[in-house]
Symmetry: C3
Subunit: 243 residues, 3 copies
């Protein structure tokens, strides 16, 4: 599956909805046992949640958007398929979450590509299920430090503490991803799926149990004037950067 | 304590029962403060649960067998003694669980010796308390990947991510195990035991609370025709390998 | 903030009470966003809880002392400020807890400086919230082994498994601590504080929920004749060492 939403594969409501529908179709397709997620946009895997969806919109819109983000994660982290992230570009915030939700992460070794949950730098807070997914991958201490600093890590650094499993040169990425997929698909589906579910169920169940509360939290937080202001400033900065 | 049940120290109902009785005796013997577990069979620490106990038997037998496996783990993981695994051979599945349940794991550095929870490769699923013990030792991410792939790791790899604590040449194993035992026995028993219990209690309590349910799960799962078939195929394969 | 309670910065009831008052003042001072903890006593960061407070005193005194120790940890681990430990000397037991409760730990690379939760060596048991703080920092396995052995680690060893984040030569310590503080203070306070609270809340809440029970446990344990005896012996040993 190739993300193609130029310029930066930002996770707009439309993009997320389409991703959820695609995942559901693949999940229900008995011929499909695995999916490789990668980007068709150069230098960017995904830039994360689309800030325009969180800025200057109605409370209803924020709620709808957040429910879609939750849905995406529930589908991806809880997928019965083998999921491999072939990270061929930078992957901040929600982009990093997508990678974290897969079974295996391969990243192109390019000093310009960065990855991490940098929400704190924007003045916002990663929700508890981003945090849980991160802790499950890199452990409590690395997550605590990285989340508080909103760190964006180079590919090498991310590999060193296990945020990505493997680094490859760009030209080897697809080949490597296919090899990893073949390795995981060699296992009997049923046993692999039950094992995956056993590992991830506690964290998935936690969001399911607190889903409405989490939406309410997000809506209340994001619609604060101080947060809206800091998001607007961030968007201005991005626009200036581009031009 | 030396496992001696040729050819491969497989954990039959008899073997497990005897192991539990021995552990209980040692536990109640105030002179005995620690135990080193090792194998008297060349190249094998323990090959894990005896598949013949799980294949073509009655529901009652499966239930009895599983209760014994639980008992073994409860006694070993919760032991008041210092427990050192001197892993002098391969140690898949239940053999790996025994090593994981000790306080310290020393493994012979031999490229032929492998260790891991490879249940998924047989089409079965390690129960939650195998998983909990594994996560407590190597962390969530390593456990997730290793359990899903049913990986059997070389001694070097196992050492790299903490599945074993130390590698030694075969001829140094007993000496090293004795030195480690002496180091742990230098601590006051009472404080060491309370500390151990504090670290392991949550995971031990979880099985105690769900013991009957876990037996029922095992019996239902293992008696499925599809699972029985895959176990029979696995046994055929082992027989062919031998001959 | 410089600890200055010669000869070894031991955490007496007076010292802890003063520390709590200072932390509260800083916490309520809106100008103060971070604090660096270090020692004004050569070669010792803090020697941990003052054993004289736990030896030959009344049950009421033990209870008062323990409540103060809890208070210190609740304030420090739950602080809204950025907390950096600049560990410029040895730091056993309660001294190690103070370092573990900060956001970041820098230690002077001196082969004579040691750090760890060595309670087991004194025949006592680190309480569950020392353990939780330790597990959150170094993971379950390292904590299990280190706590059972009551290990005091060299700075290098402590750095290797993440008990400290960074090693520096003594003359660079203050400069490095200031640089780390500046890095953490560059983040928006609100997002950083909420993130910190999200990471630490479960463990903080656990003590709050069991605070009286934990005091009772401590008082019962410490007032046992066998424990009193072993503490007296330990103090004798320390006195002999000094003279």
């Amino acid at each position: 599956m190739k993300f193609k939403s130029p310029p930066v594969n930002s996770l707009s409501l439309d993009f997320i909805t389409e991703l959820c529908i695609s995942l559901e179709k693949l999940e229900n397709n008995r011929e499909c046992r695995g999916v490789i997620l990668t980007s068709a946009v150069p230098n960017i895997f995904s830039s994360g949640l689309d800030i325009t969806e969180m800025c200057g919109k109605s409370m209803e819109h924020y709620a709808e958007f957040w429910r879609a983000v939750q849905e995406m994660w529930l589908r991806l982290y809880g997928s019965n398929m083998v999921t491999v992230a072939a990270v061929n570009g930078s992957s901040p915030a929600g982009g990093c979450l997508i990678a974290l939700s897969c079974d295996y992460r391969i990243m192109v070794q390019n000093p310009k590509f960065i990855i991490g949950l940098n929400e704190a730098q924007l003045g916002i807070v990663a929700p508890f299920w981003f945090k849980d997914t991160f802790v499950n991958t890199v452990g409590h201490r690395v997550a605590e430090r990285s989340l508080q600093l909103g760190s964006l890590h180079s590919a090498s650094e991310a590999h060193k503490f296990g945020l990505v499993d493997e680094l490859v040169p760009e030209e080897k990425l697809q080949e490597k991803a296919a090899a990893i997929m073949a390795q995981w698909l060699a296992l009997p589906d049923h046993a692999r799926q039950l094992t995956k579910s056993m590992m991830r169920k506690a964290v998935l169940d936690r969001l399911v149990a607190h889903r409405e509360e989490d939406i309410q939290n997000f809506v209340n937080f994001i619609s604060k004037e101080s947060i809206q202001k800091s998001l607007r400033m961030y968007m201005e900065m991005l626009k200036k950067k581009k031009s």
